[in-house]
């Protein structure tokens, strides 16, 4: 058998950081939300993964709770889990700003926000085929705010 060149796993370790693996194994806020006022379904037609995102907004349009359920890879589960932690307590307009900032940062742009834990998702920038896994929950959240009846997909226009 041919001798393998030394495997450089730095990029892989950057993609599958401990924080990502932790959120993928134990997603936070996982499950339905009966009190949801907004919800949307996200689908990745490439792999068939789907997720359902629930938001509860109060009269002042502040996100009181965010939960999700569905199937997905480690990247999409961790991204959804981190999303629910990030937007809980935020007013709608600020949550939507987070959508802009996070998706921009994952697709090669720069964020003006301090992304905190969400920086752990930055590893996908080296894996173009996986960017959509990370952005899907955020697109789904935007759909939920817009109360679009249609399913969000991972188009990242």
């Amino acid at each position: 058998m041919s001798k393998l060149a030394e495997l450089n796993t730095d990029d892989l370790k950057d993609l599958y950081r401990e924080l990502i693996l932790d959120h993928a194994r134990n997603p936070r806020n996982f499950g339905p939300l009966r009190s949801a006022t907004h919800r949307a379904r996200g689908a990745n037609p490439l792999c068939g993964d789907t997720l359902e995102l629930y938001l509860e907004l109060d009269a002042d349009e502040v996100v009181r709770a965010a939960r999700f359920e569905g199937t997905g890879c480690a990247i999409s589960l961790a991204s959804a889990s981190l999303l629910t932690e990030t937007v809980a307590g935020l007013p709608r307009h600020l949550a939507l700003q987070w959508f802009e900032q996070v998706t921009a940062s994952l697709t090669g742009g720069r964020s003006e926000f301090d992304l905190g834990k969400l920086m752990a998702l930055q590893g996908v920038r080296e894996f173009p085929a996986r960017v959509k896994c990370a952005t899907l929950p955020w697109h789904t959240m935007r759909s939920a705010f817009q109360q679009q009846a249609t399913t969000a997909t991972t188009t990242t226009e």
Binding site: M1, S2, L4, A5, L7, N8, T9, D11, L12, K13, L15, Y16, L21, L46, C47, G48, D49, T71, G72, C73, A74, I75, F127, A129, R130, C133
Partner: protein, 413 residues
Amino acid sequence: MSHATLAFDKNALDVRSDFPSLTQSVNGQTLVYLDSAASAQQPNTVIEAVQQYHEHDHANVHRGVHSLSHRATEAYEGARDKLCGFLNAASRREIVLTSGTTESINLVAQSFCRPRISAGEQILITHMEHHSNIVPWQILCEQTGAELVVAPIDNRGQLDTDALRELLTEKVFLLAIGHVSNALGSVNPVREIISWAKDLDIPVLVDGAQAVPHMAVDVKDLDCDFYAFSGHKMLGPTGTGVLYGREALLEDMPPWQGGGDMILEVRFDGTVYNDLPYKFEAGTPNISGVVGLGSAVDYLQAIGLTRIAQHEQALLEYMTGQLAGIDGLRLIGTAREKASVQSFLVDDIHPHDLGTILDHQGVAIRTGHHCAMPVMDFFNVPGTARASLALYNDRDDIDRLVAAIRKAQEIFA
């Protein structure tokens, strides 16, 4: 040397150096390509045939009196003759050149079935079909009020042939069945199944996309009415494919698309359609692609489909054994009769994560639903990882696959 090793060596092919794409490095490692069921790599001879055509022979076919048009026509129609021999069809009139399996099946749905089928009649398929052998029939059923009926599979991913036989009744207008499952690798006993259908005068379409590069196909021996496949899965260019159709059936079918080349005379008060097979080939075809496909037929036949099948069977057996030896790996699709494909899941690692980690080690596999979502639903999984073989793979490829899976398990440990 063990007996098994000797047997393997006897069957081994040494063709890797014919495939230039396989010499490259991916992410610092020599490429291990295990995604031929999605699309196969091309040998030098195919690439050169296409280049030769572009450099010297390109013109439109069936049109000009000039030399280049003549050469282009010879090359294009020569490929049709090769395909006719490849399938052992009775006549070149039975070889319709299409853009691929998908178009071939849609052609049968719209041209053969749609004008004749009645509401309440049935199209019978199986649970293991690729989306391209499901959706054209769903569209047909929406258009006509016909009903789509699905024959079940078992937990090993094998067709329940008894159930299929019971479903074959006089209500069935057409049986459309895959020769080899793209997601599971199961080989269906199509010859026997076709004989059951023939007893009831039910026409049969076989989706041969996953069969043609791996085994000798003889449409006369199968006695099928239609056989559909794609060029790019059998070492040819993308955008090429074939619909074999029994001549008497094709004769009676209306054109599939209208345009140039499919006509003899066009007048505003009526048009006379061209003869077979041109009646079904409207517009300028994919000439260079078909030239490449003809070259792919030459290449496969020079090596011999029987030798290729033996090599791949031995390799599949080795791969299945090696994969089964990995703790936490679950094989999906363990039919008794299989060809070239193994789907699997590793621990609770999502197939996409596995695919990324393998790619990072230079190992290309397919991950996801493989355009067979009903199969995924049956096994209650969102998708699988799938390693698929071709004649250019060898044991080293399998060893690299296994090592790469173990690395993924380390990362997710």
